[in-house]
Symmetry: C2
Amino acid sequence: MQSPWPEAGTPLDQVATPMPVIDEDRLAANIARAQAYIDQHGKAFRPHIKTHKIVAVAKAQQEAGAVGINCQKISEATVFADAGFTDILITYNILGAAKLARLRALHERVPHLSVVADSAVTVDGLAGAFDAARPLTVLVECDTGGKRCGVQTPEAAAQLAERIAAAPALNFGGILTYPAPGGAEAVEAFITGTMALLAARGIDCPVRSSGGSPDLYKAHLVPSATEHRAGTYVYNDRSMVRAGECSRDDLAMHVLATVVSRPAEGRAVLDAGSKALTSDLLGFSDFGEIEGFEGARIVSLSEEHAVVDIAACRDTFPPVGGLVKIVPNHTCVVSNLFDRMVFHRDGIVTRVEDVAARGTVW
Amino acid sequence: MQSPWPEAGTPLDQVATPMPVIDEDRLAANIARAQAYIDQHGKAFRPHIKTHKIVAVAKAQQEAGAVGINCQKISEATVFADAGFTDILITYNILGAAKLARLRALHERVPHLSVVADSAVTVDGLAGAFDAARPLTVLVECDTGGKRCGVQTPEAAAQLAERIAAAPALNFGGILTYPAPGGAEAVEAFITGTMALLAARGIDCPVRSSGGSPDLYKAHLVPSATEHRAGTYVYNDRSMVRAGECSRDDLAMHVLATVVSRPAEGRAVLDAGSKALTSDLLGFSDFGEIEGFEGARIVSLSEEHAVVDIAACRDTFPPVGGLVKIVPNHTCVVSNLFDRMVFHRDGIVTRVEDVAARGTVW
């Protein structure tokens, strides 16, 4: 049975739908632009590979000058360790004997592996799984307004750092945060406050890692951060355009879809449902943007259908069998739905890559 | 590197998280209950395999008495054809040369293959891809209030049925709808209206297919329907409990998760994010239900984190490292995130099955 994945050289309008496709030139420009900006401000750039989960894209980010990569889970990091990446930061609390054993095995073969922790329980678990012969580097995760994980105050950060530093099996690597959008001031204050407390305790704080694509081009507003982590910027999406982080010309991912029905006045149905776009709204009231048809709104998603209100453009919207290009609200989660990813230039497929870390949630 | 998939015999509390797990006994009971009800009302039952996408589960549904299976896309159907299923209904408008060629190839090897159509464009495309030597069976999809695909009136249904019947390469199989929840009257009226018009034109309407899990146990309210299709009932989820379609004891899927942080008063973070649960709200205001902790609310999801408001149960909620069981808002989309599915009985893993049709959206 014919594979859905197109051969190189296939025109985009012959690619099976629904299909996310990546513009090679926009991807390369996004990689270069972010690296240049971070270089200009004297920081290290550490891309979060979750947005693409593709070895070749991470290699391109590395070749552009990334200091290493950011992964979210051990299983995700394992894929990239298998591909030879030597500097991996896992921004997650690793807990439980099985996961600690997997982390230990990873640490044997990744020259520069770091993790984060935001509690004594997590730190003690890590300390028990490693040894002084080759300590594990641990950063303290700080909540600087994101209200997710992280210690709540510089005092708590310094305390946890001391606990890490006191463990022979661990090495205190620094502090890290995933900020609230627009939270540069809070990040800077937290970092400087924590560093002062650490200095008073005689503890170095070599890495101060901030992150997020919404604030990628505001990273210079956190002068005390030594590195910036970002994932979404590599493809961009509707939420990044709204955030002002990129222009529409920087949108590298589109989801191609076919109009499968025009069943009633003002309604069209596409073959891209939540299993191609996800239901991520990210603050939007509709499920994606159909390029070139302003006023068309994806008002509901089933698993395999998008219902589009085309009242504002019924005369121009494509007929049954026609093709559309959707800008997803959120690109990272689209990558995680597909086993492979199609790349293109000038309307022609260039390559298809394995989304090697698809589904790696453990 | 250790696989995340547990061996049979593993206790559930040692399964890597986040992980959806299926209770064998509840699954078997759901399959039996639905089949018995439909049998009792003299209809055919056609499970939609999208909810599990697993060959062994479809076989169990078949063994219980299902007349065949329902798939949403050709690629999904192909997986089940490869596994030997002989009666497959694809409830989708199939368009374009490539998809028609794939449908043709499928038709060569599936003894009873049917599709739907809701437009002349779709019907004509199908007619051009098949031939009179072995016609393709096509049902007319009708919009009976679901406001997705489907012809809008019995008159339009009869007209499209005539077009199908007039094509030597096609066989008119009947009519089909995916109703609005609670829409039994509208379905019955549409069916009887269409059948009367078809009878007047001398056209048989052998299959009248209705569907949906929310109305599975109201299928008898559509006496003119010959078959009922349903997917979600096999596992059930939070939306099915809310619909009154099942009790909490019929919930076969839970997503196991670990508490990875208790960073602030009233907040906990789990390792199950949108990449384990999806962001599907289905009308709920939170992202899933944590069993046994009434008042705990999953207020936000990142890709790999769930932020839980535990203000109402902070003294009983598990500490960092503790395990919880989440009832997903929507089970079907969780299946589509995982390559394999873990089954259990009495707290012990029984088997792990391939989610063979994961990601088959074309």
